[in-house]
Amino acid sequence: MNGLELEELRTGQGGFSVGPVSLAIPSGTATVLLGPSGAGKTTLLRAIAGFLPLQHGEVLVDERPVGAAPPEARRFGFVPPNLGLFPQRRVRDNVRYPLELRGDPEADSKTDRWLARFGLEPLARAFPHTLSSGQRQRVAMARALAAEPRVLLWDEPLSALDVESRDSLIRLLRDLIESEAVPLLLVTHDPTTAFALASRVVVLEGGRIRADRTPEELARGPLDRFLARFLGYENLYTSAELAGARTHPLGALLADRGGAGGLAIPPDAIAWQPGPAGPHEARVAALRWTAAGWVVALRHGPLVLHSRVPGAVPGVRVGDTVTLHVDPHRLRPLENPTGEAAP
């Protein structure tokens, strides 16, 4: 296979071990390594880049092993979390650096091309510390690509960006990995980036792969409690909680749809309208403002359901009675809980 492969790779640092990890990332595709802080994402990426020794397994590029090669011989475009820009070099000299190193006679024209591709020409003479986060990210990406890498390894490259900058960089990245025909392994803790960019999403927890799926499979396929929580589901109920809610009409419906590990409901699958109207009645328990709108906590028997309300006014007060509507097609039954005991 053309691309990056990890075979039973094991590594570690400071008593923390990662692996075994096996992955295949074909050229021209992006795989996102997703996981909470401390899951081992950065440790794994640094081992692939050659900065940590492999305890077991192999790293292959285009079917050739590179696990014993030093970082400079691997030709991996590694972008660390803080980007690693050279503070004493201007933007142009940062991008030119890998071309200078190998004495490329076309260094100037190639540098110009990468600066243009990332819209960096007006900033060519600026020093990194004068740039915004988004501009710095673009410099790091342009520099990594100027090295004509065989693999791209990027650690949280979009973490400090606003939504607009992140989306525009994601579009650029998708184009680039296709046009340059390189595999990209990108580390993030942000599911939104993962879903927008990846052809595969690998979820890491405690140094081990918890899931290796396409975004589509993650969005529609089976989940467990860890994945559901990590993907941002606010309404998570164990089987025992659902069983306790069977005495209420909506609780019984939800209990019937739950899996062995319980049930997850996305907040936008829960709608409501003010006023009591029959058995699906709930009481407003709390209101919370978030950047995406109001979150209304609704108590229905023993269950508390969180519903997201776009707009500046929640339309209800704490203690008001509302009628609930839950979209049955958006309910996600959960598989057996692994690593997290159901109460």
């Binding site: 590694f78 803080n82 980007l83 000299d93 650096y97």
Partner: protein, 278 residues
């Protein structure tokens, strides 16, 4: 501005001005005491000019040795853990706290022409006692610690991620050191070198014991002379006014070199580092 912040700022201005006054007023007194005659003596006296040239030569050699040996030690201390590291750091700081008269005595005891080490160095063409290499040795001993300490701090400040980025872009460890680490630490190293140089030309105690008078030997082909500070100390016993004039000239030369380094830092060093210093 409220009253308490105004009072705080006024107090800090008064305290800062007091210290600056302490730095400047003795020099003003020196110039006044020397008068036009003393200053003319300082500029024109051949003996002092020779001593000054000798001091500038020896301090340049000493700084060269200090940088060549001190920068690698600073790098080791910044980047590696090894047994006895704390002891090494204490040894590096030792010359800063030992009285320099004691430094002179200790070096004399080691390099006296009557003992094997002194005889051996003399046979290599490196006379220590009353020789140019004795002056250089004292300057290195009392000043190299500044190069080690400032370069250690400078290397420590280089972000390891920057080095990893350089490696993954194709630089081997030596290239990453030369193109990333060293340029990033250049300013700290230059500061240490300047401090070492300043410490060297202002030294007296060690010279008085080990090399109060210096006889010609390579690379000093000039007449018998003394380090400028020792020359001034000796002349102070004969003619205080002329000694004050020579002192003022020494201060002026030191000031010009400091200003020159600052100017280079703003213009030339930026180019050396592959970027500017802002």
């Amino acid at each position: 501005m409220d009253r308490s912040s105004f009072a705080g700022r006024a107090l800090s201005v008064v305290l800062s001005a007091s210290l600056l006054g302490l730095f400047v007023l003795p020099l003003v007194a020196l110039v006044f005491f020397a008068g036009p005659g003393g200053l003319a003596f300082g500029f024109e006296n051949a003996g002092f000019r020779t001593a000054l040239e000798f001091t500038l030569l020896t301090s340049a050699i000493a700084v060269g040795i200090g940088v060549v040996t001190g920068v690698p030690l600073g790098y080791l201390l910044a980047r590696y853990r090894f047994p006895g590291k704390g002891l090494v750091q204490s040894i590096v700081s030792l010359p800063v706290v030992v009285p320099h008269l004691v430094v002179g005595i200790a070096l004399l005891l080691l390099f006296a022409p009557t003992n094997p080490v002194g005889t051996y160095t003399a046979s290599l063409g490196l006379p220590i006692f009353n020789g140019i290499w004795g002056v250089v040795l004292v300057m290195v001993y009392v000043g190299a610690a500044y190069v080690v300490l400032t370069s250690e701090i400078a290397f420590r400040a280089v972000d390891p991620e920057v080095l990893e980025a350089a490696r993954s872009l194709g630089a081997n460890p030596s290239e990453a050191f030369a193109t990333v680490t060293l340029p990033a630490a250049a300013r700290g190293i230059a500061t240490g070198a300047l401090l070492m140089w300043a410490r060297g030309i202002s030294e007296v105690g060690g010279f008085l014991i080990l090399a109060a008078s210096v006889y010609p030997s390579l690379p000093w082909a000039g007449p018998v002379t003394q380090p400028a500070s020792v020359w001034i100390y000796g002349y102070w016993q004969i003619n205080p006014g002329d000694a004050a004039g020579a002192s003022a000239v020494l201060v002026l030369v030191a000031l010009l070199i400091f200003l020159g380094v600052r100017f280079f830092d703003r213009t030339g060093l930026g180019w050396l580092r592959g970027g500017g210093i802002t």
